[in-house]
Symmetry: C2
Amino acid sequence: MRLTAHTDYALRIMLHAAMAGDDPDHLLGITAVADAHGISRNNAMKVVNELAKAGLLETVRGRHGGFRLARPADSIALGEIVRLTEPCLNLADCENCILQGQCGLTAILKRALRAFLAELDQQTLAQAAETTRLPADFLSF
Amino acid sequence: MRLTAHTDYALRIMLHAAMAGDDPDHLLGITAVADAHGISRNNAMKVVNELAKAGLLETVRGRHGGFRLARPADSIALGEIVRLTEPCLNLADCENCILQGQCGLTAILKRALRAFLAELDQQTLAQAAETTRLPADFLSF
């Protein structure tokens, strides 16, 4: 069972932004962050744009532009990020199943998924950042 | 977020076996079950063998061979099946992450995963079978 790469990138980018602190003058560059995580610039851009559209990141255009958290890290639940980037959250390929709509597993898997997300709703980005140790040069760009 | 196809198949095959009831003379044929679910015979065989090795299915070889549940459906938790078929359960690709071993997200994702599995541990295969409605010809082979 795995989160999509899209969600994985979103979590990393949000964590990165949280680690950068709340100095409003400090912007992270998309290319630098993408490089640090081995994500293509194109994919990083898509994720940053989606997070910005949802009000989680703030972006500044231009030569010295970049992004930062749009809200304090302790007000952002990890569940909020995962729900945003995994809109389908279908644990199984029910669409191609002959039991579709008549399967007792569907409701049970949905309950398990709710338990998973409820746990992530209890944890904030600030809590994740608190227990993260960065490589020395991680925020130097 | 999605379970692997391997787990998806295992859940369907176990549900199918549970629906077949507990008549010890009634064996399900692998080819028929694989066809019913649109799974290749090879994949179905792999899953049945793994489930049999773990003591969840009983297989009978030979021309009139097949498989059936090895234990009552109400003694098999869905969590047991998922833990068996998803041994890794790494929600994110941490191996290729520069924060590996120092990332606050890892412990949080593990807690969420535990909540997910705890919910599946509460639900038995019998409960899933009770609320499943089969197409008319589903067990006629």
